[in-house]
């Protein structure tokens, strides 16, 4: 393993940084403009793709990951575990069956007016902490 000296680290010129900033600002304008268009279910995806492009620019240039493979592995590894966290949790939550008792007449809202097909309050008994009549 070679030990680079502290002053031997590659120095990026301010001009490059300026261009990166410019790109980031342009992407910000794009993402704001894109929010006025309706891509249907892809809205969030588009927003996140643009955010990831910006994030990559920051990480690669401002955080020097371009020249820093080792720490890039650490960082990407961290993101990978975040992804596992999200995907595994979603996997369970989204594959749960919506079991409903057959005698459930109307969905009783969990809070007033909630248009939810999912969780409902049980049909019997009083809610916890209901004030005395």
């Amino acid at each position: 393993m070679t030990h680079a000296n502290e002053h031997a680290h590659p120095v990026t010129s301010p001009k490059t940084y300026g261009l990166v900033l410019l790109a980031l600002l342009v992407l910000t304008v794009i993402t704001v403009q894109a929010s006025y268009f309706d891509f249907g279910p892809w809205n969030t995806v588009v927003a996140l793709i643009i955010a990831s492009a910006k994030g990559s620019l920051v990480a690669l240039f401002f955080m020097h990951l371009r020249h820093d493979k080792f720490n890039a592995v650490i960082f990407v590894g961290g993101l990978l575990f975040l992804a596992i966290f999200l995907i595994w949790t979603l996997f369970d939550i989204s594959t749960r069956q919506t079991v409903l008792p057959s005698n459930l007449k109307t969905p009783v809202e969990e809070f007033p007016g909630a248009p939810l097909g999912g969780p409902v309050r049980p049909s019997t008994g009083q809610p916890r902490g209901m004030p005395a009549q």
Binding site: G78, F81, I84, F85, W88, T89, F91, D92, I93, T95, R96, Q97, V99, E110, F111, A114, L116, P119, R121, P127, R128
Partner: protein, 550 residues
């Protein structure tokens, strides 16, 4: 430091001030950045809380002697088992080996002068003390009765000091993260010259794998605990079904940390055992790479399986199948390790010193602890056994049994290095036997209780379970007797003068090449690795530490 005195290897008896004596005074200990002193302070703190948590455990067992109320009422009982769990998990088992033994031994094993960030290391100790003080302070607020798992919505609706306890666990998380960051940076950057990744002692691999989990999992626990605080203080609604939240989501958040955290508890134990067995078998470790990689594999696979804690929480068939399937893969690296350790003993020159006795005891207890995990990974048996005493017993075998017995193995192994003194070997053998018998007496009956249907966290129970509870309670007294005996002879060792040889066990790792106890800067100069960590071949070349001009 003695200037100009060169040590060419083990066995030199030139007396100079060691890290225990120099500098002197309480203040110098409280402000020290020496990893060895921090490790010792961690160790004694952990042992103190082990005593506290252990007393709670004895109270629990005493209460369960009879089916109805014995010595306390239901509310007190709930608080006592919560405190037992929270103290033992967050204050004892998680820091036990990494923060105490790891801090003491890791830099020595790597041939480094200190960990990469000594001040962060000290900060971690103070954070630990702060968290511990907060956890104890909950007693003043009426205790906590949620169980250490803080399941919502119970934990967000019950009274008492839950908020403070949750914040305490949050703070303790930082101490764990600091240790993890420190160890990874240390292992990457401070290995002795000549020490490649595969010349590292396996203890370091274990610590590395542990540190990975500490870094990747602990922050999620942090945010989960903050969310509970927010739920209690602001009613933010994310885990509250009345407000549109989902209590099952909490379980995902919690187990994303807490399942890998189980490996924070077992990997360091395996790390210690991987040092003790070759030393006392005087034989090179069998399958070095397999053991090293299986540590990392356990650490990483551990992140994929947490949902097996939720098989009976209404999970879909498909999800259940996937999580069960993945869980079984943890069994492979664990099995590899056990067989590799036994293979290391094979054709060795086995010396049954106290650390080796504890290591053998670990092997047997871990065999039971590991294999009973299969019951809980398999779907149909888990449905029957989940949340019963079977689970209680299984995790005590893995966490309490394996982790704490490995802690004892490590303490007995490095005690001469820490203090330059030796304990009474006969008493050590007796107490090791007492602990082994007491432990099995306490927890074997609990497997049967569980498979017969005794649920966990029960204050009252049906009379049919009493016989086994009585057996378990008596076992807990035997276990306690063994532990008190250990404490007694370890403390008694301080009455002897310091005079241990540098390498009393004939170990081949670097810590044995400096004096016992070491000086503040561990080594005279920078040690350079001359042979592998478990190389017991007789060799003509001079062994070990070579001096470098400083």
């Amino acid at each position: 430091m003695s200037e100009g005195v060169l040590h060419a290897g083990a066995g030199h008896a030139v007396h100079h001030a060691d890290y225990l004596e120099e500098p002197k005074g309480l203040w110098s200990w409280l402000t020290t950045v020496d990893h060895k002193r921090i490790g010792l302070m961690y160790m004694w703190s952990v042992l103190f809380f082990f005593l506290v948590g252990g007393i709670f455990a004895l109270l629990i067992r005493l209460e369960l002697l009879t089916p109805k109320q014995t010595i306390m009422d239901a509310e007190t009982y709930n608080r006592v088992f919560t405190l037992h769990g929270a103290i033992m998990t967050f204050l004892v088992i998680i820091p036990a080996i990494p923060a105490a033994l790891g801090n003491f031994a890791l830099p020595l094993l790597l041939g480094a002068k200190d960990v990469a960030f000594p001040r962060l290391n000290l900060a971690s100790l103070y954070v630990y003390w702060t968290g511990a003080a907060m956890a104890v302070a909950t007693l003043a607020l009426g205790g906590v009765d949620t169980g250490w798992t803080f399941y919502t919505p119970y934990s967000t609706t019950t009274g008492g000091g839950v908020t403070l306890m949750v914040l305490a666990a949050f703070v303790l998380g930082f101490s764990s993260i600091f240790t993890g960051v420190n160890f990874i940076a240390t292992i990457h950057k401070l290995r002795a010259p000549g020490m490649g990744w595969f010349e590292m002692p396996l203890f370091c691999w274990g610590m590395y794998a542990t540190a990975l989990i500490q870094i990747l999992a602990t922050p999620v626990l942090g945010i989960t605990l903050l969310l509970i605080v927010m739920e209690r203080v602001l009613g933010v609604g994310i885990f509250d079904p009345q407000l549109g939240g989902d209590p099952v989501l909490f379980q995902h958040f919690f187990w994303f940390y807490s399942h890998p955290a189980v490996y924070i508890m077992i990997l360091p134990a395996m790390a210690v055992i991987s040092e003790v067995i070759p030393t006392f078998s005087k034989k090179t470790i069998f399958g070095y790479k397999a053991i090293a990689f299986s540590s990392v594999a356990i650490a990483l696979l551990g992140f994929l399986v947490w949902a097996h804690h939720m098989f009976v929480a209404g999970m879909s068939l498909f999800a259940g199948a996937i999580f069960s399937f993945l869980t079984f893969f943890i069994a492979i690296p664990s099995a590899i390790k056990v067989f590799n350790w036994i293979a290391t003993m094979w054709r060795g020159s086995i010396s049954l010193e106290a650390p080796m006795l504890y290591a053998i005891s670990f092997l047997l207890i871990f065999t039971i602890g590991g294999l009973t995990g299969l019951f809980l990974a398999a779907l149909s048996t888990d449905v029957h056994l989940h949340d019963t005493y079977f689970v209680v017993s299984h995790f005590h075998y893995v966490m309490a049994g394996s982790n704490l017995i490995a802690l004892l193995a490590g303490m007995h192994y490095w005690w001469p290095k820490m203090y330059g003194r030796l304990y009474n070997k006969k008493l050590a053998a007796i107490s090791c036997a007492l602990i082994f018998i007491g432990f099995n007496m306490t927890f074997l009956p609990q497997f049967v209780l569980g498979s017969r249907g005794m649920p966990r966290r029960y204050f009252n129970y049906l009379p049919q379970f009493q016989d086994l509870h009585v057996a378990s309670t008596i076992g807990s007294w035997v276990l306690a007797a063994g532990l008190f005996l250990t404490a007694a002879y370890l403390l008694a060792s301080f009455r002897q003068p310091k005079g241990m040889a540098a390498n009393p066990w004939g170990g081949r790792t670097l810590e044995w090449e400096t004096t016992s106890p070491p000086t503040t800067h561990n080594f005279e100069g920078q040690p350079v690795l001359q042979h592998g960590p478990y190389d017991y071949r007789p060799e003509p070349a001079p062994v070990g530490v070579k001096e470098l001009a400083h």
